[in-house]
């Protein structure tokens, strides 16, 4: 069994892991290793061949692979080692020992001064919804279908219903349509979409694909391959309304019903997770409850925009570098709490006495029009942000300026005040 020591080990070479590694390397950490389970770096961006990535970071509209390639090229230029085809089996949070396996190197045990968790997220499957019916072929999570179409070149079906209006589902509605399939409907349980508005417009409206809000799939039919689904309207308690059933003749059901940070390794390591984000609880530099273990990107909380993932991950990379050098200040922290209208604010705590900018990121708990997000510290307002609309489908960000952060002395609460 091989074993080695590194200064920083990054788990995952998607946009989060690449950005974190680049930041750490920029700060002079040379003994740095990135582990990636797939054959190529780039993560899920590899299959996101549509454009719209990088507007914030590069001021350009890139495709997923183009966006990823910029970071991959940068990492290569900097001489960052990315070991692909390697799966991490476990992380020991106390000893910072990571066990991984690959066919090329066998089982390896790597000890790292700092570990950056950047494993991304996975899709909620059908089982989690409890939808009754048969268990036939033709039911895919939207991302699996995306992989089949965009990476493998196969069509999973021809007549498609999409359950859930998450971004991947919306993107796949357009993608399947362009590829010759008939997308019959996009069905969303909630009275609002969980996807970005631009995707509703560009992927459904532009192709006349109907969006059924407050509807869900209540039956799945077909013994071998899917033959149809029954959709029904739901009441305020999300229960199907008898008599509202609509039958769809389809051979494919795509599920786009939410993403879950993939934290099995983190849990095994003893990282404390938030029940709201399903990701680690972190401080303002994305350090978890375990010293020297950082988390960033979709494994921390599910983002809508990769640009935000990269920015967050740069921060984690810089912080891990500082930790390795012994330059990361620790000490007391102040809690960040969700107030009315707010869910899952990250970070969950801010170190006392630091004077660096902090991005507070969260999901609104409902759709609020012409509302104001107000951040308070011990009852004192420290920041506010007005928006024409706050919706759960779009992550909200409120910046705390360095001088504000420096002055924090009590619990920070984030609230959305409705007009």
């Amino acid at each position: 069994m091989n074993s080695k020591c590194v200064d920083i080990l990054v788990i995952g070479a998607g946009p989060a892991g690449l950005a974190a590694a680049i930041a750490a390397k920029e700060d002079g950490i040379d003994n740095l290793l990135v582990l990636e389970r797939e054959h190529n770096p780039g993560g899920i961006l590899r299959q996101c061949i549509h454009n719209g990535f990088g507007l914030h970071r590069f001021k350009e509209e890139l495709t997923g692979p183009e966006y990823a390639q910029r970071d991959i090229d940068r990492a290569r230029e900097m001489g960052i080692e990315i070991q692909t085809d390697t799966t991490v089996l476990s992380v020991d949070g106390k000893t910072h020992t990571v066990t991984c396996v690959s066919s090329a190197h066998g089982v390896e045990i790597i000890t790292a001064k700092a570990i950056i968790l950047a494993m991304g997220c996975r899709e909620r499957p059908r089982g989690a919804l409890g939808t009754p019916g048969t268990r036939c072929a033709g039911i895919y999570s939207a991302g699996t279908a995306q992989k089949f179409v965009n990476l493998e070149g196969y069509m999973p079906g021809k007549r498609v219903v999409i359950l859930g209006s998450g971004d991947i589902g919306l993107i796949m509605a357009r993608r399947m349509t362009l590829q010759g399939a008939k997308v019959l409907a996009c069905v969303e349980l909630m009275p609002f979409s969980s996807g970005l508005n631009r995707n509703i417009v560009q992927c459904l409206n532009d192709y006349d694909i109907p969006l059924y809000l407050s509807h869900t799939v209540i039956d799945i039919k077909g013994r071998e391959r899917l033959t149809g689904v029954t959709v029904a309207k739901v009441d305020a308690n999300r229960q199907p309304i008898p008599g509202s059933e609509i039958e769809f003749d389809c051979d494919t059901l795509l599920l786009s019903v939410g993403l879950i940070p993939e934290n099995e390794l983190s849990e095994g390591a003893g990282v404390k997770l938030s029940p709201l984000t399903s990701g680690a609880e972190v401080d303002d530099v994305l350090q978890t409850n375990l010293p020297g273990i950082f988390a960033c990107g979709n494994v921390l909380h599910v983002h809508d925009l990769v640009d935000h993932v990269s920015n967050e991950s740069f921060r984690a990379g810089h912080a891990a570098a500082a930790y390795v050098r012994g330059q990361l200040s620790g000490g007391d922290t102040l809690d960040v709490r969700d107030g009315d209208g707010v869910r899952g604010t990250v970070p969950q705590r801010i170190r006392k006495g630091v004077s660096e900018e902090v991005d507070l990121m969260f999901r609104p708990s409902g759709v609020f029009r012409n509302a104001t997000c107000i951040v308070t510290c011990g009852g004192r307002e420290i920041a506010r942000k007005k928006a024409p609309i706050f919706t759960p489908g779009e992550m909200a960000v409120v910046k705390l300026k360095p001088e504000i952060v420096a002055g924090l002395d009590d619990t920070v609460t984030v609230t959305i005040e409705r007009s």
Binding site: H105, E123, R126
Partner: protein
């Protein structure tokens, strides 16, 4: 096509019979309409090796359950099938229940079940603290066990196959007649078969086959049971299998760990018309959850991996029908094999197999090939064992299913077994790839690719469970050409 012995049905019973008969000099063919063995009730049941107190003394169910349960530990060891014996409780919530439980204890004693006794509330709560505190008393059965029903079936089939039994899957029997030549003529949707000896182990279809051969008609009621399967978790709420008092319809709803450490809730019990209708329903699933709350007030479906249903073949007289088919020569049957059919299966195999051997004067083979030694699954290996496994076969280094920690080496092995996987579900049941919390979202494209490579079929021919259950309808280029 001629075979000495034709077995209809490749469920756990048919495979158990085939394995026993494969010790003898005779050509054996097993036919099943499913794309895999264990496609009927054997793949969708509670996976409990019942201790044997439920069945009325003197019935075949009682006798074969107790005998089968005794065989399980050694058989699982021999075949490399998972087995554990956490014990079981049957909960009573009233004085009326207490009387029922007392009867069950007496039955257990009479059936020869070791260690069955009535315990009081405090002892129940000490054993299983998450039990509903309104419990009054319980039957405790220390020998109640757990196994993986489909893995047992695969192992029995593989062992029969290495000893010469042939398996013909995707083939449905349509007619059975006795020819002038004294042979059985069996027509299927694919072929014509003749055989000297016919064995009917056709599960929910067994009465149909029986009634083709006998005027003494049997009637099977198709009784569907719906389940919730929950993810493996750090600590399961119960260590043992938790039953409620049985009813006319069966053993009632249970809450139980599975042998793999998942949690199983179910089954419902609904008599249905279509013996293949394994769909689940909102009502059935609600019934299961509501009933579970009696055992486990905090019952939750959070962490549900899937819901599924299985169909038990309930013969209306209530007992197993096993032995020679009345009024016919060279015909044998196992009909009405519902719970405790899985527990009884090894004993049924011995009973029917040895009966046939004796009556037909079969000659024992000089040498019986032992089961193929099963490698420990990668997920269960220590780090050292994993390192060794990868050093020996680098494909152990390619992790395919991240949720259940299944490697490429294991998936290829599952396809190459004597009765190997040919479908996504077949790989899943043999290796657990796709059985975890992402439900195959990440691994199914790769599993499909491996199946395509191993079986030399195009990706578009790979199915989930045989028949028309193809995963893909064509390449993206086909789709553009054809339009939709």
């Amino acid at each position: 096509m001629y075979t000495d012995i034709l077995i209809i049905g490749a469920g756990v019973t048919g495979c158990a019979v085939a394995r026993v008969l494969s010790r003898y000099e005779a050509g054996i063919t097993v036919i099943d309409r499913g794309a895999d063995v264990a496609e009927g009730a054997s793949k969708a049941n509670s996976g409990i090796v019942h201790a044997g107190f439920d069945a009325h003394p003197g019935t075949l169910k009682a006798k074969l359950n107790v005998e089968g349960a005794k065989m399980y530990p050694a058989l699982c060891e021999e075949l490399g099938v998972p087995y554990s014996q956490p014990g079981a409780l049957v909960l009573g919530f009233s004085e009326e229940d207490r009387q029922t439980l007392k009867t069950l204890v007496r039955q257990g004693e009479e059936n020869g079940v070791p260690g069955v006794r009535l315990i009081e509330r405090d002892e129940v709560l000490a054993m299983e603290p998450n039990t509903n505190p309104e419990v009054v008393c319980a039957l405790y059965a220390p020998t109640s066990g757990l196994t993986s029903p489909y893995e047992m079936t695969f192992a029995l089939a593989d062992h029969a196959a290495v000893n010469g039994a042939k398996f013909r899957l995707n083939e449905e029997v349509e007619g059975v007649t006795k020819g002038q030549d004294g042979l059985w003529h069996v027509t299927t949707d694919k072929d014509e078969h003749t055989c000297k000896i016919l064995v009917n182990c056709a599960g929910v279809g067994a009465a149909t086959i029986h009634n083709m051969m006998s005027s003494d008609l049997l009637h099977i009621i198709d009784r569907r049971g719906q389940y919730y399967l929950l993810d493996r978790m750090q600590t399961l709420p119960f260590r043992m299998t938790m039953f409620q008092c049985p009813t006319k319809m069966g053993k009632g709803v249970l809450v139980s760990p599975t042998v793999h450490g998942n949690l199983l809730l179910g089954p419902s019990a609904e008599d249905i018309e279509d013996e293949l209708d394994t769909s689940t329903t909102a009502e059935g699933l609600k019934f299961v959850l509501d009933k579970c709350r009696l055992t486990w007030p905090k019952a939750t479906t959070r962490g549900t991996i899937t819901n599924f249903s299985g169909i038990r073949a309930h013969e209306e007289k209530g007992d197993f029908v096993i032995g020679a088919v009345g009024g016919q020569e060279n015909a044998y049957e196992t009909v009405g094999i519902e719970s405790p059919g899985l527990s009884a299966a090894p004993a049924i195999g011995e009973m029917v197999g040895e009966l046939i051997a004796r009556e037909q004067g079969l000659v024992k083979k000089g040498q019986i090939v032992p089961p193929i030694a099963r490698k420990k699954p990668f997920h269960a290996m220590t780090t050292e064992e994993r390192a060794e496994a990868v050093a020996e076969n680098p494909l152990y280094g390619n992790l395919v299913c991240r949720c259940e920690v299944v490697t490429e080496a294991e998936i290829r092995e599952a396809i190459r077994r004597p009765v190997g996987a040919t479908t996504i579900d077949g790989v899943k049941r043999r290796t657990r790839a796709g059985m975890g919390r992402c439900q195959g979202g990440f691994c199914s494209p790769r599993v499909a690719e491996i199946i395509s490579e191993e079986l030399h079929i195009p990706m578009t021919e790979v199915t989930k469970c045989g028949g028309t259950s193809r995963l893909l309808v064509g390449t993206i280029h086909d789709a553009m050409k054809e339009g939709c």
